[in-house]
């Protein structure tokens, strides 16, 4: 057995350059996959960590549809034997008193008063100071922003002052802006002792919510509390770790996984190329082995061992590189967020998975050559020379199937993308053939007769060269499509936000808006319309698999503001008004996992309810992780009675920025948030701008990996044509002329990959822009910057790849090659 491994090792390392290039392909492929798996797991951990920090040990909480409620309403909780710990919290909007010239809205702060800062129902990782229940607790971001240390005093307008007792890491409870610009639209959040806040505000006996931990009788208590609160303004909810309303990271990973699988696909092709050519070269060797009694399985086993050796070495080197890449990736990704997120690389399971993939994918890619080696016919092989050329019939078949699949551009379905990509691969021999003919005169100008020979040679191994170019083209196509999506996304999101925001400004108050308030809002010159917005939050619900989730339900009605997009909006309003039913935003619908017409379980203020999901709609609110219900049903059947938000529509020529300061001045006693539609657009699209840089990096990496494939293919072509190149040299072709010929071949493969990729990318972008499924989310707009990069990177890396092979070709020993021929 040891012998077989040793023989295989000698075989794969016989040609050092080929071995190195193939290994590099595997290493890069597996490194990409490892990094994506690690980044995915680690990101999940990071968000889980912050979710858990928010949830802590709490099992349930009692909230109200009003801003605050009386502590008496929940007196039964503190006395219940099922409750092991409680945490009372009171939120109050206030303003910092600062020495700088910050505006009122920039000084806005939400103070959360808690009765016990060290409660196990709170997780506050202390960086500096201590949780002494006497001073203020602020996050590091706020401390930096206000330039405060432990022991420093913070003053609040019309309330009082207190010393900072602890500075803690970022938590959702204390999330706030990281700069003064962000503070224009988002309030700071800090924590104070409950007693102190009550003393400042006079809100004795008032609270915003109570969280509690229960023993095994918790469910029973929950049900009894649901009954107890049925006709009151308070309601009980399980505490659920679900931050999907504020984080849409899952979509991002779909995107990065696509890149990782693409790289594995390219690496697989590189391995296939190497093993297939090696098998074809050694057919005579296999025939001799079989003539001495080797079985089909023994020959196949020999190749399998060679592949396994390559896979093991590639994985052993690729996985550590992948871990390092994953770490780099996490730093870049989390750097996008405003606050410093801590993370620990979760590499255990990802590394195991990557090892399995790393060993399996080269084997799967090589199954055909492994089988082919075993099937070597002794007589036929010893009699005839090896040939790896495919017949015109095969080309025709490939072309016909490719053309057939290409017709999927007329079919508006997600599977069309796979079909179109497959058709590109299948049609590539024709494209390469055509391009080598068209580009022949240009090659002649630059490379002389070597250029003409290059265009001939490329068609000699048409399938292999076309596959190599096609892989590059597919990589470019996918990346161009993704970059077009990223480029168009801000516009798409902006359109969606403008269509479904419901106005130009959303103002949130701690108390219900009165008629006087409404009149006052309408009296502003800039305001043309004021609509109230009812948002029931947080509402917990169950997925089809029984997992607990949390979102908001927004009230809608025919006469009210437009909060979602649908071609049959009127009909939906009508249906919602008939029976208590619900519309789900796209992401909520996907997470729920059910079908339209099925019921969703919701923990409403009126207890558990099963409500029919009547449709799924597109909306910008919470990136689609939201639900809509008829306002009357939300109030009557659901039991949500109050609205704290107003949507203001402005007259032409006005914008929300001008109004913001007025609003904070006029409603400072109860206003808690002013968000303009521009704020919403900015916060949604700002993270996308950083994405384009990641796309460009991916683009170069994919082209780089494809170029390794090009180098590999050219090396195979060169080694197969040793005798031919030797003859050329014997007949007076200089080394330089041979080099030029190979570089010309590489350039042809690279150029056709680049041209094919750009054309296919443009086709897919067009198909996507026309797709009714995506409802015009992206417009037909070519990412010109990336196309230029593709051209430069594709051509220069192909030239580099062909230069590597050309040095081998030019060093071919004439005498040996003539003897072999």
């Amino acid at each position: 057995m040891l012998n077989m491994w040793r023989i295989s090792w000698r075989n794969i390392t016989q040609n050092k350059k080929r071995f190195f290039i193939s290994l590099l392909g595997i290493i890069l492929g597996i490194a990409f996959v490892t990094s994506m798996l690690i980044a995915d797991k680690t990101t999940n951990d990071v968000f889980n960590y912050y979710e858990q920090m928010y949830v802590a040990n709490a099992d349930y909480w009692v909230l109200s549809d009003q801003h605050t409620y009386s502590e008496d309403a929940v007196s039964s909780i503190s006395t219940s034997p099922a409750v092991t710990e409680t945490l009372i919290a009171l939120d109050k909007q206030a303003f910092f008193e600062l020495e700088g010239d910050q505006s009122l809205n920039q000084r806005s702060v939400r103070i959360t008063g808690v009765n016990n800062q060290t409660s196990s129902l709170l997780k506050l990782p202390v960086i500096e100071g201590s949780l002494d229940n006497e001073g203020l607790v602020i996050s590091e971001v706020v401390a930096n922003q206000l330039n405060k240390k432990v022991g420093d005093t913070i003053r609040f307008a019309d309330l009082g002052e207190a010393k900072v007792s602890a500075i803690v890491e970022y938590t959702q409870l204390l999330a706030g802006p990281s700069d003064w610009e962000g503070a224009e639209s988002t309030s700071f959040r800090i924590m104070a002792p409950l007693e102190l806040l009550r003393e400042w505000t006079g809100m004795d006996n008032e609270l915003s919510y109570v969280r509690f931990q229960t023993n095994e009788d918790g469910q029973q208590l929950f049900e009894s509390l649901q009954n107890e609160f049925l006709n009151s303004n308070v309601y009980v909810q399980p505490v659920v770790a679900d931050d999907r309303q504020s984080n849409d990271i899952g979509e991002l990973y779909t995107f990065f996984y696509l890149i990782a699988w693409l790289s594995i696909f390219i690496s697989g092709f590189i391995v296939f190329n190497m093993i297939y050519t090696s098998v074809m070269e050694r057919k005579k060797e296999f025939a001799i082995m079989k003539s001495f009694g080797y079985l089909q399985s023994s020959v196949s086993k020999l190749i399998l061992i060679e592949v396994l050796l390559l896979a093991l070495i590639g994985t052993a080197l690729g996985v550590p590189i992948g871990i390092w890449l994953g770490d780099m990736f996490m730093q870049t990704l989390l750097g996008v967020f405003e606050f410093e997120m801590v993370y620990t690389l979760n590499w255990g399971i990802p590394v195991l998975t990557a090892v399995v993939i790393g060993i399996l994918f080269p084997v799967v890619s090589s199954l055909f050559p492994i089988y082919n080696a075993g099937k070597t016919s002794v007589l036929l092989t010893l009699k005839t020379a090896n040939h790896t050329h495919s017949s015109p019939k095969q080309h025709l078949f490939r072309g016909v199937v490719g053309a057939g699949l290409f017709s999927f551009i007329f079919i508006d379905h997600p599977s069309s993308y796979i079909a179109i990509l497959a058709s590109i691969i299948l049609l590539f021999p024709m494209l390469l053939y055509g391009l080598s003919w068209v580009l022949k005169p240009i090659l002649k100008v630059f490379f002389g007769y070597s250029g003409i020979l290059a265009s001939r040679s490329v068609t000699q191994q048409l399938n292999r060269n076309a596959n190599t170019a096609a892989i590059l083209a597919v990589g470019i196509t996918v990346i161009l499509l993704l970059s077009a999506v990223i480029e168009s996304a801000p516009e798409g999101y902006e359109n969606e936000i403008r269509n479904t925001y419901g106005g130009d400004l959303r103002v949130t108050s701690e108390v219900q808006w009165s008629n006087e308030d409404r009149e006052k809002l309408l009296s502003y010159d800039s305001v043309s319309n004021v609509e109230s917005l009812m948002e029931a939050t947080p509402i917990t619900w169950e997925t089809i698999d029984g997992k607990k989730r949390e979102f908001s339900i927004l009230a809608v009605e025919n006469e009210g503001p437009t909060l979602f997009e649908d071609s049959e909006k009127e009909q939906l309003y009508n249906d919602l008004s008939k029976e208590p039913s619900i519309l789900l935003g796209k992401r909520a619908f996907d997470e729920w996992g059910g079908d339209v017409g099925e019921n969703i379980y919701l923990n409403t203020p009126s207890g558990v309810q099963q409500i029919e999901v009547i449709d799924v709609v597109n909306t910008s609110h919470y990136s689609g992780y939201v639900a809509f219900m008829d306002e009357n049903h939300l109030t009557n059947e659901f039991g949500w009675e109050n609205s704290f938000d107003m949507l203001l529509t402005l007259n032409d020529g006005y914008n929300g920025e001008q109004l913001r300061e007025h609003l904070w001045m006029d409603f400072s006693n109860h206003l808690s948030k002013v968000e303009t539609i521009e704020d919403e657009i900015k916060s949604t699209t700002s993270s996308l701008s950083g994405m384009n840089e990641l796309i460009l990096t991916m683009l170069v990496l994919i082209i780089g990996l494809s170029s390794i494939g090009t180098a590999n293919t050219l090396l195979m072509n060169t080694l197969e044509r040793t005798s031919e190149i030797g003859t050329m040299r014997a007949l007076g072709f200089t080394k330089q002329q041979v080099k030029k010929m190979i570089i010309g071949e590489g350039l042809l493969i690279g150029l056709s990959g680049v041209i094919g990729g750009i054309v296919s990318g443009a086709i897919l972008i067009y198909v996507t822009s026309q797709s009714k499924l995506l409802e015009g989310f992206i417009s037909f707009q070519l990412p010109l910057e990336n196309i230029i990069l593709v051209l430069i990177a594709g051509v220069s890396l192909s030239l580099f790849a062909s230069w590597i092979s050309s040095t081998t070709a030019s060093k071919i020993n004439i005498i040996t090659s003539l003897k072999e021929g």
Binding site: G448, Y449, R456, Q460, L731, G732, K735, Q736, I814
Partner: protein
């Protein structure tokens, strides 16, 4: 025309040095047709490779057309080969992607010296090797004899001073071999080209003006057509 002085060639086989040519001295006149014979490993093919500038000697000089090959760089030898040497190989060594005409024109393309006149000359060459009308065919689709004719035409296309043939009839049957040898001798006579042919076959060697027998890296015996014993020698050898 060709003068070899103390030509020595050593190869390293593992740790061991093997001397394939051991100080060969030889003169070949312009227009002479020389056949080199000898058992395997006697150094005849190595001699041909050195004459073609495909390799360099360990010691000694090669003078062809008043130029020393041993003093040339790799590139100079390539260009010299392109201009002054024609090669005919046992297994034809045609370029499979090129047509018959393109194969013949290859040395001219390499030189960048293909002109309309030379194109006409290629057609004439095709005619003279008996391949008229087959110029546009892919070379690898022809029969063995036809492929060797293409190889001869290719070797002659730049009108080289020296034609080096390595077992040109080794893969052909007797009648085809006779045709090919007839062609080579015809060009030797008509163009006064110097031909050095390595062969195992005394029948092929019989077409030469001089037969040089190699043994263990040295010239063992030389027999010339001018010698009275030439015919007898060939007949005995064949027997």
């Amino acid at each position: 025309m060709i003068k070899l002085s103390n030509l020595t060639k050593e190869f390293l086989q593992g740790q061991e040095k093997t001397q394939v040519l051991k100080g060969v001295n030889l003169n070949v006149e312009e227009g002479e047709f020389v056949a080199i014979m000898g058992p395997s490993g006697s150094g005849k093919s190595t001699l041909l490779q050195l004459l073609g500038g495909l390799d360099i000697p360990t010691e000694g000089d090669i003078l062809i057309n008043q130029r020393y090959l041993s003093n040339m760089t790799e590139k100079e030898r390539t260009i010299f080969r392109r201009k002054y040497i024609g090669f005919i190989f046992q297994n034809y060594q045609l370029l499979p992607t090129l047509t018959v005409e393109e194969n013949i024109a290859f040395p001219l393309h390499a030189d960048g010296s293909l002109t309309k006149e030379k194109n006409q000359m290629i057609l004439e060459l095709l005619d003279s090797v008996g391949l008229k009308g087959l110029g546009r065919r892919r070379a690898n689709l022809l029969s063995g004899g036809q492929q060797q004719r293409v190889a001869i035409a290719r070797a002659l296309v730049n009108n080289p001073a020296v034609l080096l043939a390595d077992e040109p009839t080794g893969n052909l049957d007797r009648s085809k071999a006779e045709e090919i040898l007839g062609l080579i001798s015809r060009f030797n006579r008509e163009n006064n080209q110097t031909i050095i042919m390595v062969t195992h076959d005394i029948f092929a060697a019989g077409f030469a003006d001089r037969i040089i027998l190699f043994k263990d890296g040295i010239v063992d015996q030389v027999i010339s057509r001018k010698d009275d014993s030439y015919a007898e020698y060939v007949a005995n050898f064949m027997a």
